[in-house]
């Protein structure tokens, strides 16, 4: 590195070169007498400066690319949600029985473990919610976008809340998990529109869904849920919290176990 700096100062004229040579000789003599090689302080300074630039520049670059990934779209709140960051209450037309516990489900539409959970326990939970025996709240996260290098968690989340506008959140949600692509492949726009249709959104309602989807009406909402749930300590999916207690899915892995846990939590 010391070599580079002397090369950079090499002057063009012969006179300059002689002067530079003399200076160079002095520098080399000084270095020989001190450490027998390159000037350690100069090299250390260069290394420290490069290190600081690399770390600070890297942080700024990462923060910028993160903002690029998550902006764009509207900041609407789905019906039944009162603030950005809050979970989405499903089965809003069902009146829960007295003392029904709240089951909060943290999911990411691209998470394979969430699909496993949905395949095994999804219908059990939905039946209980339909009967009003549990208040079901979904926290739709999108952290896998960053991990997988795409934006389909956010887009599928947005699409699900566009379906909620038509009263079809749950049906869309179930379609998306039943047809989840291999991790990393992501959904396609057509696929998500297909889920909306399969969820029972047709005619002008489907046009409205498409407009909502294209506008990214709920993108900010999905981002806000990701952030607030992470602050609440949820950095993995699926996470289930029953009346605020995180469930160990190893302990409630069967429909019977989960049903029993929900019954136990009923006041």
């Amino acid at each position: 590195m010391a070599k580079n700096s002397t090369k950079g100062r090499a002057p063009a004229g012969t006179k300059g070169r002689t002067a530079a040579n003399a200076r160079q000789a002095k520098i080399q003599a000084a270095q020989r007498s001190s450490s027998g090689g390159a000037n350690k302080i100069v090299v250390a300074t260069v290394v420290v400066v490069v290190a600081i630039v690399a770390v600070v520049g890297g942080v700024i670059w990462m923060e910028t690319s993160k903002k690029d990934a998550i902006t764009g779209g509207g900041n609407a709140l789905p019906a039944g949600v009162s603030a950005l960051g809050d979970g989405y209450p499903a089965y809003q037309d069902v009146t829960p029985v007295d003392g029904a516990p709240t089951l909060e489900i943290y999911e990411d539409f691209q998470c394979p473990a969430c699909k496993s959970y949905e395949d095994q326990l999804g219908s059990t939970v939905e039946d209980l919610a339909e009967q009003g025996k549990v208040r079901l709240v979904y926290h739709v996260k999108n952290f896998l976008d960053d991990n997988l290098g795409n934006t389909w968690s956010t887009q599928a989340g947005n699409a699900a809340f566009c379906a909620a506008d038509a009263g079809k959140f749950q049906a869309f949600h179930d379609q998306a998990y039943a047809n989840q692509p291999t991790e990393g492949d992501g959904f396609t726009d057509d696929q998500l529109a297909g889920f909306a249709e399969a969820a029972g959104i047709t005619g002008s309602a489907l046009d409205t869904w498409q407009e909502c989807y294209d506008a990214g009406k709920y993108v900010d909402y999905v981002n806000s849920v990701e952030e607030s749930s992470a602050k609440d300590g949820v950095t993995g999916t699926p996470t289930l919290r029953l009346n605020g207690e995180t469930l160990d899915l190893g302990q409630v892995g069967t429909p019977e176990q989960l049903t029993a846990a929900i019954e136990d939590a009923t006041a």
């Binding site: 090689g37 690319s65 991990n147 993995g236």
Partner: protein, 171 residues
């Protein structure tokens, strides 16, 4: 001339595993091990800012925002220290920082284990909460201990083969 003969005699008197040359090779291996691991660990996180932030936040040690900034800076710190070790440039300070990083990781993993969190260490990307049965705390701690020892060796004896320290500074 007699000095040279004495040196040869002295060198012949010590067992092979304590000769300077052998120890220099150990130093080179330690540099390569810790250097490759740090560069690999850092590079795996670059381009995944949110994942890296969540990995640090999952340890629940620092305040959420601070953990986020650590998550953004850590990959580049790892790469810088790793590259210095691979080059053998300022081996001792780089090894001290590398070993301290490993000790910090071990402490983080140990406290997560002790507090009953179930997280992936996020050492090479990924991270965050996982199923309790999927945690690998003992393996992660054992592995990082090995890396910390490599750093400790170099902090104690930074001399090694094929280092920029030797080329530039003659030691």
């Amino acid at each position: 001339m007699s000095v040279t003969v004495d040196e040869v005699d002295a060198e012949a008197a010590v067992p092979w595993y304590r000769r300077g040359r052998t120890l220099d090779v150990v130093g080179l291996l330690a540099r390569l091990l810790l250097g490759v691991v740090l560069v690999w660990a850092g590079a795996a996180k670059v381009g995944h800012p949110l994942t890296s932030q969540r990995a640090v936040q999952a340890y629940q040690i620092f305040p959420f925002e601070l953990a986020g900034w650590i998550g953004l800076a850590l990959p580049f710190l790892e790469i810088v220290v790793g590259v210095l070790l691979l080059l053998g440039l300022f081996t001792r300070p780089a090894a001290v920082v590398g070993a301290l990083l490993m000790l910090a990781f071990i402490a983080g993993i140990a406290q997560a284990w002790a507090r009953g969190l179930s997280i992936d260490c996020g050492c090479f990307g990924g991270g965050g909460e996982i199923a309790p049965s999927a945690t690998r705390y003992p393996e992660e701690i054992a592995r990082d201990t090995g890396f910390a020892l490599a750093g400790g060796w170099l902090a104690w004896r930074p001399r090694s083969l094929a280092s920029l320290d030797r080329i530039l500074f003659g030691h």
